[in-house]
Structures are given as structure tokens and as C-alpha cells.
């Protein structure tokens, strides 16, 4: 039996007897991920729905100048409010999402057949909060504009189509799987984060903890080579992490299978095959994470010091997600070789049920495994330092 296999088995046995570690990795994380995604998803879609379909509360300045317009708006589910004293400040302070101002000359212009002025006061720097409301008000005004315009043309004996040179139709080719909402964009990040640092406790415990509990020196005095010892610890960490991810994805699948199909107009379902593909995608990240954490634990003088590097590691898998939010790009082959960015892209494509070419798999897995191998080499160098066990 090879030494690395012996070390790996012992570390896994040790880890699975640590009740706290098992509960966090196999229960808390698997429950947290679907809850975060589902929670954000339902809050997000409910808010959008309210904005699209709820009553639009609209402060109107100069309401007395346009009673017909206001009456029409009210029939379209708008509740007219008294205007604030200072509309610009009120909008800027988010007291109102949008304010409508009707020009004092509105009535006169209307009767004369001149364009009557109305003004939409809004704040474009908060598109997420008030974008839908602004669009809705603009849509209502445009619709009223068209309706009255059509009536006026008919009254003058002109066919309304004359003033309508274009007819713009729309067809959305999104499939249910590809119709993502913001919440589900979080999933790749959460998966990569879990894969990268999910084994943190085990890795730190197996090296920094082993040294602190004074059992590393006897272990290094056995004939097992340091390469074998570190490899066993890394593989135990990666295995534990992948098991945790498997349970997480299984929970995710069960959770979204329980949601009635009609409730969501987007597909959150993940097939068993997709779970298998996701695990393959995150495999190099799990190996890399396990290796980096083990190297860190060997480099750090204590458990505490090793944990203090954690914020840095949390940040790494976040970078590509942030990059994609700022600059959404079409996937190029080279991107698949970039750690985290490549995995992020592939996870999105697995979730969208898009095909992945063998060459793309090869580039992504090859680059990921190569990087993990380099990290392994660095980690073994660190394991050969005399300080490792003999720090006292």
C-alpha cells in the first residue's frame, strides 16, 4: 500500500470523525447554497413583478392642467400623489422613484394641437432600483401619445398607418435554461468558492494543526517521503471538498425539483448529468485549492496565521465573476485556460445546457491541472523546509 494512500485514508477518517467539520461541509453548506440562490431569486423576481404589475405611485406636479391624462393614467393602475415641494431632491433622496411634471401651458398647447409638454423627473444612477418604474411610466406616456395621435389622424381623415412607417416585432430566442436571473449568476461563484476553499479546515488541520499538536515530527520520522505525505493530505482535502460539493449540488437539485414548474418562468433545474459535468469542471479548482491551502499551512507558523490568509483566497474566485459583470464578453478559447474565469464560463454553459466541445474541455482541464501541478511542486518544496516540523 503506498504511503500517500495511507495518509489520505487516515486524514479522511480523522476528518469524518470531526463532527463540526462534517456538519459544516456536509449539512450547512449544502443547505446554504440553494437557500441563497432561491432566496435571492424569489426576492428579485417578486420585486420586478411588483414594479411591473403593482400600482404605480406617481407624484404629479401641475395635475390640474391635464385632467384627462391623469384620468387615463388612473385607469392604468397609477395612483396620483401630491407632489413633493422639491421634486429634484426628493427623487435624488429616493423618496420617490419618479415624478411627473405637467407644464402650465399644457391645456393651451393641447387645445391648439401643439405638442404639450410633460416632464419625467428621475435619477438614472440607480437603474437597478428604479429602472423598471421609469420604463413603465415612459411606456404609459408613449402609449397615451400614440392613442391620442391616432384619434387625431382619424379625425382628419388620414389613415393612422401613414404616421407609422415601421412595425417593430420582437422575438426572444432564450430557452428556459438560458433565461438566467441575477441570483443564478451567483451559482458559479459559490461553486468555485466552495471548491477552492471548502477544504480549508481539513488542510490547515492536517498540516498546521498537526504541527501544533506535535504529531508532525513523528510522522516525518517514518520512512514515508514528504512528497507522499503532502500528496495524501492534498488528495484527502480535495476529496472531502468534492464530496461536500456533490452533496451541495444534490441538495440544489432536490430543492429546485420541489418548486412547482409553473412558479418560475426560468429553469433552475440541474440534471444529474449536469451535476457530473459540474464536478469535472471544478475538479482542478478543488485540487488547486487543496494544494494552495496545504502549502499555506506549511508556510504559516501557526493555525491562526494560516487562517489569516483566508480573505485573500476568498477574493480570487470572485475576480472573474466581477470581470464578467463589468465586461460581459463572448467566450474565447484562451479564456478557458484562465483559472476561475474558464471554470466560471464552463459552469454557466453547463447550467445553460449549452454544448462544450472536446477541445474546450481539454484546454480548460489541461490548464487547471497544470496549475495544480505547479502548486503541488511549490508545496512539496515548502514541505521540505527544516522549519516545517522543527520550529520549536
Amino acid at each position: 500500500m503506498s504511503a500517500w494512500w495511507t495518509v489520505m485514508r487516515k486524514e479522511l477518517l480523522d476528518a469524518f470523525r470531526d463532527r463540526r467539520m462534517v456538519i459544516v461541509a456536509m449539512v450547512v453548506m449544502p443547505l446554504a447554497v440553494p437557500l441563497i440562490i432561491a432566496g435571492m431569486g424569489s426576492i428579485g423576481s417578486k420585486r420586478q413583478e411588483e414594479k411591473r404589475e403593482g400600482t404605480l405611485e406617481l407624484p404629479v406636479i401641475g395635475a390640474e392642467h391635464a385632467p384627462n391624462l391623469l384620468a387615463w393614467l388612473v385607469t392604468h393602475d397609477v395612483r396620483v400623489l401630491d407632489p413633493p415641494a422639491d421634486p429634484d431632491t426628493a427623487v435624488r433622496r429616493q423618496e420617490h422613484e419618479v415624478v411627473l411634471r405637467i407644464d402650465a401651458d399644457y391645456g393651451e398647447d393641447w387645445r391648439a394641437g401643439r405638442p404639450a409638454a410633460v416632464e419625467v423627473i428621475y435619477d438614472s444612477s440607480r437603474p437597478l432600483q428604479s429602472g423598471a418604474t421609469i420604463a413603465r411610466l415612459r411606456g404609459l406616456l408613449a402609449s397615451y401619445d400614440r392613442q391620442v395621435g391616432t384619434l387625431r389622424l382619424i379625425a382628419r381623415g388620414i389613415h393612422p398607418a401613414v404616421a407609422q412607417p415601421l412595425q417593430v416585432g420582437q422575438r426572444d430566442v432564450a430557452t428556459p435554461e438560458s433565461r438566467f436571473d441575477l441570483a443564478q449568476q451567483m451559482l458559479p461563484y459559490l461553486l468555485l468558492l466552495l471548491a477552492f476553499i471548502g477544504g480549508m479546515q481539513l488542510a490547515i488541520d492536517a498540516t498546521a494543526g498537526e504541527r501544533e499538536r506535535q504529531s508532525l515530527e513523528p510522522l516525518l520520522a517514518t520512512p514515508a517521503s514528504r512528497e507522499a505525505i503532502i500528496s495524501g493530505k492534498i488528495l484527502a482535502t480535495a476529496t472531502f471538498t468534492l464530496l461536500s460539493l456533490l452533496v451541495t449540488l444534490a441538495m440544489y437539485r432536490i430543492a429546485f425539483a420541489l418548486v412547482p414548474a409553473g412558479r418560475l418562468d426560468i429553469s433552475m433545474a440541474v440534471s444529474t448529468e449536469a451535476i457530473a459535468r459540474l464536478l469535472v469542471v471544478v475538479l482542478p479548482v478543488a485540487l488547486l485549492g487543496a494544494t494552495v491551502l496545504t502549502a499555506l499551512a506549511a508556510f504559516a507558523r501557526s493555525h491562526r496565521e494560516a487562517q489569516s490568509y483566508l480573505p485573500l483566497l476568498v477574493f480570487l474566485p470572485m475576480l472573474p465573476t466581477m470581470f464578467l459583470m463589468v465586461a460581459p464578453v463572448k467566450t474565447q478559447l484562451w479564456m478557458l485556460a484562465v483559472p476561475f474565469l474558464g471554470q466560471n464560463q464552463l459552469i454557466l454553459r453547463v447550467l445553460r445546457a449549452e454544448p462544450i466541445a472536446p477541445g474546450e474541455w481539454a484546454v480548460n482541464l489541461g490548464a487547471g491541472l497544470l496549475l495544480a501541478a505547479v502548486a503541488w511542486w511549490v508545496a512539496t518544496r515548502l514541505y521540505h523546509r527544516e522549519h516545517l516540523a522543527a520550529s520549536s
Partner: protein, 248 residues
């Protein structure tokens, strides 16, 4: 047999180089108990760490059964049973699992491990706690587990760093008995201690170390003769004390 030849080792600490071991040579023979005696900080642990390949010597070499520790570290470790100063055990594993883990790392099969564990349990008196998880073990129980773990592969050469540290009288006595048994089996036993009575009671040969150098070595009788003291304790004080006097 363990041969230590002109070992030197320095450490860098705050920009200063500190010479921990400064030309240590001695031989520990098969079928004898050799004691490494010296005050705390004399360089005993560093010498032993170079011996079991945890550290590389700056100069000099170590031969275990004729094998060079730098050239063949794996083979040297295979021939050694080591109880280091650090003797932590895995608290979520039972004592038996702790011992078996090291047996597997020495390449033993399950049957050989089981047979050897039975012998060690009897020799060290571990019947009461062999199948308990080691969390909450007393110092003596932990040390016995660590010793059994170090000797699971029945090594011909046994190296123990301060084996009786923190043990009560009864456990210390059974430990001494056990070292005599190893000697009777023909093992080469090398242990370090800063306790004179212990070294005097156990050892066939004594190597006295102070400030990284060997200041005296030989059988107890030879040491008494060399120093002209009847009492071994007085002999130690004289060799260590006079050397310290020289450096002061």
C-alpha cells in the same frame, strides 16, 4: 548500530548564527543502552533530529547500520524507531489506530501490525486504553502510545528523546524495564535525558554533551575513573561544570 561523526549544525536567529551542535561524535552499539546526557539547550535534540533525518547536518555524517542518513534518508528512517520530543497523537483515533497508521507507513500488512500491537500492549501495559480514542489521555498513556507507535515495525535501532519527561514514577519504572527488554533483544538503544539518576540507572555507555560538544564519554566506571569521583553525579557536575567554567 548508530555512528555519529563530527556533526555540526548552526541556526540563523535574528541575523545571528547560533551553533547548536559543534562537532559531536559518538557510537551507540547494538545490545547496549547509550545515554545522551546534557543540560537543557546543550544540543541533544538537534543531534537526534539530524540522526533521524529531520534536519541536515552542516558538516559531519550519521551512519545507521552503515547507511548514510543524507544519502539514504528513507532507508535510515526504516531502520530507526523514533520517539521525538514532540509526541502528539491523533485525538480522534484510538490508540490502536494511531499505532496501526505508523505500521502502514512502514509498509507492514494488517496481520503483522495486529501481532506486533499485541506484543507492545503487553510490554507497555496498555490493555486498559488501547481501543479508546486518545482524546483525554493522561501524559503517561499518550507517551506509551507514542512509544508503541515508534516501535511498531520492530526496529533494530531505537532513538528516544527524553522518554520519561512528564511521566510518573510507576510509568517511568515500566519504561526502564521496557528499555532493558529492548537491550536484551539486541537492539541499539539511544536516549537523551537531562536527568542524571536516570542515565546512571540505565546506561551502558554515557555521552555527556554541553554547549554543543561532547565533553566526556564512556561507561559509568570509566567516567568515574576519568574524573576521580566515586559518585557518578559528582562526575557529571565536574565535567559539565568545569567545561562551563572554561567558557565563562
Amino acid at each position: 548500530m548508530i555512528e555519529v561523526q563530527a556533526l555540526r549544525k548552526s541556526f540563523q536567529a535574528r541575523g545571528r548564527s547560533i551553533r547548536a551542535v559543534d562537532g559531536v561524535s559518538f557510537t551507540a552499539r547494538d545490545g547496549e543502552i547509550t545515554g545522551l546526557l546534557g543540560p537543557n539547550g546543550a544540543g541533544k535534540t538537534t543531534t537526534l533530529r539530524m540522526l533521524y533525518t529531520l534536519m541536515r547536518p552542516d558538516e559531519g555524517r550519521v551512519l545507521v547500520d552503515g547507511l548514510d542518513s543524507c544519502a539514504q534518508p528513507g532507508d535510515v528512517r526504516r531502520r530507526l524507531g523514533v520517539l521525538p520530543d514532540a509526541r502528539g497523537v491523533y485525538k480522534r483515533l484510538t490508540a490502536r489506530e494511531n499505532i496501526a497508521y505508523f505500521g502502514q507507513l512502514h509498509g507492514m500488512d494488517d496481520a503483522a501490525i495486529a501481532a506486533r500491537v499485541e506484543r507492545l500492549v503487553a510490554a507497555l501495559g496498555m490493555q486498559d486504553f488501547i481501543d479508546r480514542r486518545t482524546e483525554g489521555f493522561s501524559q503517561g498513556q499518550r507517551t506509551k502510545t507514542a512509544i508503541a507507535r515508534a516501535l511498531v515495525h520492530a526496529p533494530r535501532n531505537v532513538v528516544l528523546d527524553e522518554p520519561t519527561n512528564g511521566l510518573d514514577v510507576m510509568t517511568t519504572r515500566s519504561m526502564r524495564r521496557f528499555l532493558h527488554e529492548l537491550k536484551a533483544e539486541g537492539c541499539c538503544v539511544l536516549f537523551s535525558s537531562h536527568i542524571m539518576q536516570e542515565v546512571a540507572a540505565l546506561c551502558d555507555r554515557i555521552v555527556v554533551i554541553a554547549q554543543g560538544r561532547v565533553v566526556a564519554q564512556g561507561t559509568p566506571d570509566e567516567l568515574r575513573r576519568q574524573t576521580g569521583q566515586q559518585n557518578l553525579e559528582d562526575a557529571f557536575v565536574q565535567v559539565i561544570g568545569s567545561e562551563e567554567g572554561l567558557f565563562a
